[in-house]
């Protein structure tokens, strides 16, 4: 099943504003679009390439729809974090949501888009869409003189997006990436 990026449901999502918050990060990766898409699609390979991903436990994968648990290293030297993701992988686009979001989020979803750039590389865009669980969010990210709770959450998710993009650029442009079928 393929859908061109211009027909993306995200247009509707953003237009109707059913998520209160959104952040978008983009990065050019000098590898062909299909290679970049494929690397993000092949979820079982992630622990080989991404040092912070400790384990992927696939629950369902039919080539378009995927559901899996991902165990990632703790950011605070605590226990590893297990995150369940549900994805819909289509032509140059991967939609995702987190059915069990962290307790300060009521909803957490998003999508990756993979667009060809003029140099034969790929412009990768990742969007996060979310609604806060306001009381819990204010406990976890108390407002400060300089930053509101909302700003802190946005900063954190945007930071995760940039980290993911940078990690993939590093992996996909590393020496030997072509030999490793990346």
């Amino acid at each position: 099943m393929t859908t061109s990026p211009t027909e993306s449901p995200a247009v509707h999502e953003n237009a109707v504003g059913t998520y209160d918050f959104r952040c978008v990060e983009t990065l050019a990766i000098p590898r062909p679009v299909d290679r970049v898409y494929d690397a993000l699609f092949r979820v079982t390979d992630w622990p080989r390439y991404l040092p912070h991903v400790e384990e992927i436990d696939v629950i369902y994968d039919d080539g378009q729809y995927q559901e899996f648990w991902m165990t990632v290293a703790s950011e605070t030297d605590g226990s590893p974090l297990r995150v369940r993701s549900i994805r819909n992988c289509r032509y140059r686009r991967i939609d995702f949501f987190q059915p069990l979001p962290p307790r300060f989020l009521r909803h957490h979803a998003g999508f990756w888009r993979f667009l060809p750039d003029s140099d034969g590389g790929c412009l990768v865009e990742v969007s996060h869409l979310w609604n806060l669980e306001p009381v819990v969010a204010a406990e976890v990210y108390p407002p400060t003189a300089g930053e509101s709770t909302e700003q802190q959450v946005e900063k954190m998710l945007a930071g995760h997006s940039r980290l993911a993009l940078e990690s993939w650029r590093k992996v996909l442009t590393a020496e030997g990436a072509r030999d490793a079928d990346l």
């Binding site: 509707h12 999502e13 998520y19 039919d62 729809y65 549900i86 819909n88 949501f97």
Partner: protein, 145 residues
């Protein structure tokens, strides 16, 4: 294997779509639905389990739906019914002159590669026709009231 069933509903697409999108309505509209448990829901995505009564006993399926109001509901059953390896598809809603054509498309794979696809397809068509008609009656009834 892919199959498709259609039915025209005498109600606007927005209300017909809304009825199909509302997981709570399924138990009210479909008499064989025993329970619906919603695990996640926002305006565009749903994850749920549904238990239905079948001649062989209760069956529970789990699924995910992607909502594109008021045109389409895309679905995958990550835990499909017994005997199936995969089940996915769409409900689409096409407005015309105040009425709505509802199209149910399904793509399924049997667990047994030598299983009788045609026989299962006919059974599935029967379920879809029944469900389309029950939803039609509910949608048209809601419009009248």
């Amino acid at each position: 294997m892919r199959i498709c069933e259609q039915m025209v509903v005498d109600a606007p697409a927005e209300s017909v779509y809304g009825l199909y999108a509302d997981l709570a309505a399924w138990k009210r509209v479909l008499p064989d639905v025993v329970d619906v448990e919603v695990h996640y829901m926002d305006a565009h995505r749903q994850e749920f389990s549904m238990t239905v009564e079948r001649p062989g006993g209760l069956e529970t399926v789990s699924g995910v739906r992607h909502l594109r109001a008021p045109h389409e509901l895309e679905l995958v059953q990550t835990t499909p019914p017994p005997g199936l390896a995969a089940m996915r598809g769409t409900w689409t809603f096409t407005p015309e002159n105040g009425k709505t054509t509802v199209t149910a498309s399904r793509e399924f794979t049997l667990l047994d590669p030598d299983g009788d696809e045609q026989r299962f397809a006919e059974k599935l068509r029967g379920f879809l026709r029944t469900n389309l008609d029950l939803f039609r009656r509910a949608a048209e009834g809601e419009r009248v009231h």
